[in-house]
């Protein structure tokens, strides 16, 4: 259980633009770390580098002793690191249940030839996948939506479904890219409650968020990025009172949301 996710001085350039400059991050099992920063700070880029969508220009990504630097996304996922996307990303024309069943691919994947045979073990496993997917939908408050096409769901339900898919993959570490964006207060609470429940079970969660209030209430530790650099790290109270953070982040847009 004691295998933290570690990003070691990750640098990522896009041509001349330095999107990340020597950013280090550590995420332990059972903790929620908030990753905040203004638009364009490099939050999504860090997630993409860690999840294998992009290669870092310099630096390493490790989960425990496993070096994941530059590995393709499906290999990173197999190591136990699963992410969600900032923009809604679902199998739109499949049912919510199918979406979650696909999420459990790693646990239940069947050999291509083996799955073609009319074996009892195949049928039994298919039922197990379905039951588990239904249980996860239930956990995320989506039991009613199981047969609905993913693209027909409300935004709140779509965000919850993204989370359900990621959970079905049984991650050790979960990276969430602005899971609350665009949601009404009530829906935000619903998503946050699901996340809090997970951490109790020993999951590590990296919560990228714009919404200061949510981050302050949910996270034990917060990392602040600005222009590709870490400018502060610490408890919500420490970060909120940090002078530089107030200048670049809180001072600009989110002052009202930050002060209780």
């Amino acid at each position: 259980m004691s295998s933290p996710l570690v990003a070691e001085s990750v640098t990522r350039r896009f041509g001349g633009l330095v999107a990340l400059q020597q950013v280090s991050l550590r995420l332990n099992p059972g903790e929620i770390v908030g990753l905040i920063g203004p638009n364009g700070a490099g939050k999504s880029t860090l997630l993409n580098v860690v999840a294998g969508v992009m290669k870092p220009t310099h630096g390493r990504v490790k989960l425990g002793d496993t070096d994941l630097t530059g590995k393709p996304p499906h290999v990173v996922a197999a190591a136990g690191l699963v992410r969600t996307f900032q923009a809604v990303n679902l199998f739109g024309r499949l049912s919510a249940l199918d979406n979650v069943m696909l999420g459990s691919h790693l646990r239940f994947r069947a050999g291509f030839l083996r799955s073609l045979l009319p074996l009892n073990s195949n049928r039994r496993q298919e039922r197990e996948i379905r039951d588990r997917a239904l249980a996860i939908l239930e956990e995320c408050g989506l039991r009613e939506q199981a047969p609905a096409e993913a693209q027909a769901l409300s935004l709140g339900h779509q965000r919850l479904l993204s989370l359900a898919i990621a959970l079905a993959a049984e991650p050790k570490m979960l990276l969430l890219d602005e899971p609350l964006a665009g949601l009404a207060r009530g829906d935000q609470e619903e998503v946050l409650n699901v996340i809090r429940g997970l951490v109790g079970k020993g999951l590590g969660v990296l919560l990228v968020e714009h919404n200061m209030r949510a981050v302050m209430s949910a996270c034990g530790r917060i990392v602040v990025l600005n222009q590709g650099r870490t400018i502060a790290e610490g408890s919500p109270a420490q970060v909120a009172s940090d002078q530089r953070v107030r200048e670049v982040y809180l001072g600009t847009k989110r002052e009202k949301a930050a002060s209780p």
């Binding site: 999840a51 969508v53 393709p72 996304p73 499906h74 996922a77 197999a78 699963v82 992410r83 969600t84 996307f85 990303n89 679902l90 199998f91 739109g92 024309r93 499949l94 049912s95 249940l97 199918d98 069943m101 696909l102 999420g103 459990s104 691919h105 790693l106 239940f108 994947r109 069947a110 291509f112 799955s115 073609l116 195949n122 298919e126 039922r127 996948i129 379905r130 039951d131 239904l134 009613e144 199981a146 047969p147 898919i165 990621a166 079905a168 993959a169």
Partner: protein, 364 residues
Amino acid sequence: MCEGVEATPPGKLTAGSLPLSALGITVAAVICVALLSFPSLGGNNYQLRVASTLFFNVALAVGFWAVYLTGLLNMTQIAFVGIGAYTTAALAIHGHWSMWAAVPASVVAALVVGVVIGYATLRLRGSYFFLVSFAFLEVTRLFFTSFFKDQFGGTNGLTGVPRPPVLPVLGASVNLASPSGYYYLTLGLMLLTVTLIWRIVSSRNGLVLRALSQSDSLAESVGISSFRYRMLIFLTSTGLAGLAGSIYAYMNLVVFPTDFGLTRAVLVVVYTVVGGVGHILGPMLGASVITVLGEWLRRFGTLEQLAYGLVLVVVMLFVQGGLVSVPGRITKGSGRLPRSVARTAWKVRLQAMSSAAWRRRREE
């Protein structure tokens, strides 16, 4: 497939694939028996020939559709039919190989080239993959036209493929080189293709294939190797194409480079689009209808091509899910008037084309 799920309509949970019910199996069995006994029930040679073409085209359409499911418009299929046909013809003519050796060798040849082409192209997406696969189709045709002329005969093709043998079947003998022999060969090809592809798409991995056409990045994020699954279905389709090519060589006894060009490749796309991509019955229906229609239209000579075009346009405009979606629409009675659907489709198409004439007409 959906027992134990209350309050959810069945069918929805199987991602568009029909559950393999007892009724389905019965219907399929009855159709198989009818098809198998058709030659002995007095189908004439013309009917048998049309049926062989139909089975062959259905097999191609289903093989194309299987790869299409993963979001790839694969134009290489006909190139692999050509590779299968040329392998068979060359081995049978120059090497005097028997059918039993030449057919598997042709499938293997298609698979070997398929692995190389798959590795080179299956990481490409969308229009990039389409263009590269289209280029491979042309390159293969040019290869058979211009290289190894001693072996492949250049533009003259390969003539004089030995006739397939007479087989003893259950005491009787079936002459494979007869209309009923070709009927059984192509029927076998079609049944093998449809059964294999159906098993794949209705298995758990079929759901993975469908998912790939909708979001690669999400699939990868939960541990699905999109490359691996695309490769598996691509090779399945490619091996079946090689088999089809081998049978093609034995049916026609000659192979020409132009048999395996863009025209045929486009026809397979047309079968699939006209039939509808929502279900395996779509490409089957499309290939059947267009093959029979094509035979019927032959009497009109050059108008045949025009009629193909018209059929395609009409289906695209009025039946956007393809022919296979028609029964569902009628029974579901979705409340939308067919005419209003058609009118909307017209508008959308015309606007998309931003036809100047149409714009002018509106301004008047």
